[in-house]
């Protein structure tokens, strides 16, 4: 991906986070995506979220596969290591990275082609492992880099530029993730930064696997009349069901909520997600309810957004595997090697 360094322009009065860094310290290279691409808005939301969370840039790992979406880690937090892997395989690389060093924050950026076609197997299995990561799908229903073929998330009847209407059933990452047991599942829209930033903050802070499916229109190949992933269509049909505010551990809950409407959920580090239910029938802590609600909304042609499901259980891959608290990559060799004497003792078993 082309990479143009962005000049650092910082005003002395710019807001600083708990590390004393400004948002400029979280920027990356200049995007080379098409003007108006939804992905760039998501990049901006990621920058905002990690800045507000006060993550040390070098403690963040940016993981991706192949495709337009997978280019974007070059456009945020240039002081973080990035791993632009092979197509559809970001999940396995992140699994290994996290196995070796559990102390870093992992943000994976993928697309609908990268996650739901070539990477469907890895997408499913990283959920099963409950890997502690924030997995963002920048979902536009088409393959951009190869010029506009339908992806597996294209809706039946949706029409992309220069293509007959799609006839194959879509794969919905959100209902798939609910079925597979993901523990934090949200959907949003690239054009709704206000909703997106707290959802990303929650996803990063959540311990375990967090999925963010973000509708992100492709202005070049799928933003036309007849497309169900266009800006116009998404704006007309998206529907906040549950909004969520992210409250850091040190902050008081200041916003006032109507009784019965607000529901705080405590995250593992003491921070809180406060749900604001915009639909009284919805229970985001029930897998079954979330699943049936999603099904109904699909039938009604609505795009349901917000934090759709959360299970703030304490586990992740490391707790399931009972690994030590120290990152494995940081263990001393002397703590790993049994030594000569033990080997000599072992030999008697093989005589």
């Amino acid at each position: 991906m082309s990479y143009i360094a962005k000049p650092k322009i910082s005003h002395p009065k710019m807001p600083r986070n708990k590390l004393g860094l400004t948002i400029r310290d979280y920027e990356g290279g200049v995007s080379t995506l098409c003007a108006g691409c939804g992905h760039d808005s998501i990049t901006a939301a990621i920058i905002q979220a990690v800045f507000e969370l006060g993550i040390e840039p070098h403690k963040l790992a940016k993981m991706s596969g192949i495709g337009c979406s997978s280019k974007t880690p070059a456009y945020f937090v240039s002081q973080s290591h990035g791993f632009n892997s092979v197509h559809g395989r970001m999940a396995s690389v992140t699994t290994g990275a996290n196995a070796a060093n559990r102390d870093l924050t992992y943000i994976g950026v993928s697309g609908d082609g990268d996650s739901l076609s070539i990477g469907m197997g890895q997408f499913a299995h990283v959920i099963r492992r409950n890997l502690n990561m924030c997995y963002i799908i920048e979902n536009n229903g088409v393959y951009g880099l190869t010029k506009g073929q339908y992806s597996a998330s294209a809706d039946v009847g949706s029409v992309a530029k220069k293509q007959p209407a799609n006839r194959q059933m879509p794969i919905d990452p959100v209902s798939t993730a609910i079925g597979l047991g993901a523990t934090y599942i949200a959907r949003s829209f690239s054009g709704d930064k206000q909703q997106l930033v707290p959802l990303i903050k929650g996803a990063i802070t959540h311990k375990g696997f967090a999925l963010l499916d973000v509708i992100s229109p492709c202005v070049t190949f799928n933003d036309n009349v007849g497309s169900t992933k266009s800006y116009a269509y998404t704006r007309q049909h998206f529907h906040h069901v549950i909004d969520a505010d992210y409250i850091a551990p040190s902050e008081e809950i200041l916003a006032s909520y109507n009784a019965g409407e607000a529901m705080p959920v405590k995250l593992h580090d003491g921070s809180k997600i406060v749900f604001r239910k915009l639909n009284e029938d919805y229970d985001p802590t029930s897998r079954a309810a979330a699943f049936s609600f999603l099904r109904d909304s699909v039938n009604q042609g609505e795009i349901i957004t917000g934090l759709l499901y959360i299970n703030e259980s304490p586990g992740d891959m490391h707790s399931d595997a009972s690994t030590v608290d120290t990152a494995l990559a940081n263990l001393d060799y002397k703590d790993l090697n049994p030594g000569r004497q033990k080997l000599a003792e072992l030999m008697s078993r093989y005589r």
Binding site: A74, N84, V93, A99, G121, V324, L343, R351
Partner: protein, 598 residues
């Protein structure tokens, strides 16, 4: 035929009947008598009901290969009686269960048929169906013990060690041993003219398979992340790693290791690369089909310059092939795995001992060279029991983590660029995530400049791939040197690698007795070091011994060091059975008869 400590015993059974422990008992008993042994298991890709064979070669001279001879056939599988009878060497003995006499079927005049009513005796002595089946196996061990004069006291000791406090099991096993032993002594002249006799040639030796040794080697190497997708014949490598980690890597109930059983091999290698990127020693065991699936990522690791250790326990291909049979058939697919211009470092262990020592070597090379290193074992080494010297460890060993910059290094640098050849050896410096903000770079499989930036610029791209060739030459100087043996001044030689070694060494002795003296070079790694090239240059005729159809090793010699193809004479064994000493000697003599000099 009268021989001491030179006998091949073959046991034909049905898989899933528990014969493996009986065969192990028999082999260990002979080993404990101080006599070198070679064990080969010929098993089906199946759990229960199909024919399986176990071959024990008793070799007082300490050879390491199998022979094509069978002196004593323990035929316990009616389905294969005729095949087993046919495979018996003239003058041999055929032992079968005479509960159901088969005098008409077993009608070879040049062998001796010894019937023992094993089923009848076991049915009389044991109550349950399961015990009757299991004890029939132990009873044939008793028969063989009597026929070959194996020390019963050693067998008793081995049973004590196996069953420990479970005295009733020890008693019933000893009873079964005696059923067979006593019957043989009472009905036949024991011992036979072929027999065993105590020696002192197994002191400070063990019996171990290559997968166990490699798994242990990974623990000693300090590997903390293992990722895999189960595949025969590599599965027992990860089983061993897990077992040894549970012995040596626990901190209370917490583990100082992480094993990821991935959804497929594409994922397993991805896990390895992610972990290596973060600085852990990570590995994956697999076999040929796994290499095919991993190829895309192997090319990524070559170009993005990430360490990875892959154990390829080769099995018979192509495609699914014969999963429980051996070959050395993945050389070319491993050496050049992935699209584009790629080539990879390979190590060739010849036995379980080398599987152990090459494990830390593989990690050292992978981290020093920042590239994938593949250890090419095979089913014969990986799953068969080999006699090896005791494994030893040097407590002064320090892992070579290669050129990794610390936070302090980075703090003192003006700027870090990932792919600069600072030292002129083609190996750039790398940084690990989480260490220092100055170390950040973008790991990518797309075109990049020496500064680590994305590029589509012709010259910038070429500069990087040319520098990788410099690194390749550095690798050539770092890999293990070949083992070279000069017979005498001679212009003819054998070159080989891996599990062919035992067969070649024995064949060289056989050939020498026929006045054919050949020099020998056993290669341990790819790329080939200068010593390999010199060896080839010194000779006019070189027999290239390997276990595949297409002479892949010979192909690599031609491709990598431009060895003159016309003087490389292929000696190819690819039936799926381990190569035998007889085969190598026979093929060399055939070539000599056809006009190739020796």
């Amino acid at each position: 035929m009268s021989k001491t400590n030179d006998v091949v015993i073959k046991i034909a059974t049905v898989n899933g009947t528990g014969s493996a422990s009986a065969n192990g008992l028999l082999m260990k008993a002979i080993f404990r008598m101080g006599i070198p042994v070679v064990g080969k298991n010929y098993f089906p890709s199946n759990i229960q009901g199909l024919p399986t064979w176990y071959e024990i070669r008793v070799t007082g001279e300490g050879h390491q290969a199998r022979l094509e001879r069978v002196d004593l056939m323990v035929a316990m599988n009616v389905q294969t009686y005729q095949k087993d009878l046919a495979s018996l060497t003239p003058g041999g003995w055929f032992i079968y269960d005479s509960t159901w006499p088969r005098s008409k079927l077993l009608d070879r005049s040049d062998v001796t048929v010894l019937g023992v009513p094993l089923s009848r005796m076991c049915n009389e002595h044991f109550d349950t169906a399961r015990a009757r089946i299991l004890m029939k196996n132990i009873a044939y061990v008793g028969v063989v013990a009597a026929l070959l004069d194996i020390d019963l006291e050693i067998i008793r000791q081995l049973l004590n060690e196996t069953f420990g406090a479970k005295k009733h099991l020890i008693d019933s096993n000893i009873e079964a041993i005696h059923l067979g032993y006593d019957y043989a002594v009472q009905h036949y002249s024991c011992p036979l003219p072929v027999k065993v006799e105590k020696m002192d040639k197994t002191r400070d030796h063990i019996i171990i398979d290559g997968n166990t040794a490699a798994g242990l080697g990974c623990v000693y190497a300090g590997a903390t992340v293992g990722a895999w997708y189960p595949i025969t014949p590599s599965t027992s490598l990860m089983d061993a790693y897990k077992r040894f980690c549970k012995m040596y890597r626990m901190e209370g109930d917490k583990k100082k290791f992480c094993i990821v059983q991935a959804e497929d091999e594409l994922s397993a290698i991805g896990v390895v690369l992610g972990a290596s990127w973060n600085g852990a020693r990570a590995f994956t065991p697999t076999s040929g089909p796994g290499i095919s699936l991993m190829s895309e990522f192997i090319g990524f690791a070559y170009f993005a310059e990430l360490p990875a250790v892959i154990f390829d326990v080769q099995r018979t291909g192509p495609s699914t092939g014969m999963p429980t049979r051996t070959q050395q058939c993945d050389l070319v697919s491993c050496a050049y795995a992935s699209h584009g211009d790629t080539k990879h470092v390979l190590l060739f262990p010849a036995n379980p001992e080398e599987c152990f020592y090459m494990a830390p070597k593989a990690f050292d090379l992978a981290e020093r060279l920042q590239t994938p290193v593949m250890v090419l074992s095979d089913l014969d080494i990986g799953m068969n029991d080999w006699m090896c010297p005791d494994l030893d460890w040097d407590d002064d060993y320090v892992p070579d983590k290669g050129k990794v910059l610390s936070a302090e290094d980075l703090e003192n640098m003006d700027a870090f660029y990932r792919y600069l050849d600072v030292d002129g050896d083609g190996i750039p410096y790398r940084t690990l995530p989480g260490v220092h903000p100055k170390g950040a770079y973008f790991t990518r499989g797309s075109g990049h400049s020496k500064y680590g930036a994305y590029t589509e610029d012709a010259d910038e791209y070429q500069e990087v791939v040319d520098r990788l060739l410099v690194k390749w030459e550095t690798a050539r100087n770092l890999v293990p040197e070949p083992e070279i043996e000069y017979s005498k001044f001679n212009k003819s030689a054998v070159i080989s690698f891996g599990s062919c070694d035992g067969a070649v060494k024995e064949a060289l002795i056989t050939l020498k007795k026929k006045n054919v003296g050949l020099n020998y070079c056993r290669v341990k790694a790819f790329p080939f070091s200068d010593a390999v090239k010199e060896f080839i240059d010194q000779h006019d005729y070189i027999y290239v011994v390997e276990q595949n159809r297409d002479a892949q090793f010979r192909t690599l010699l031609v491709l990598d060091i431009e060895a003159e193809a016309s003087k490389l004479i292929p000696v190819l064994h690819y039936k799926g059975l381990p190569i035998s000493a007889d085969f190598v000697a026979r093929r060399v003599l055939e070539e000599i008869a056809r006009g190739q000099a020796a």
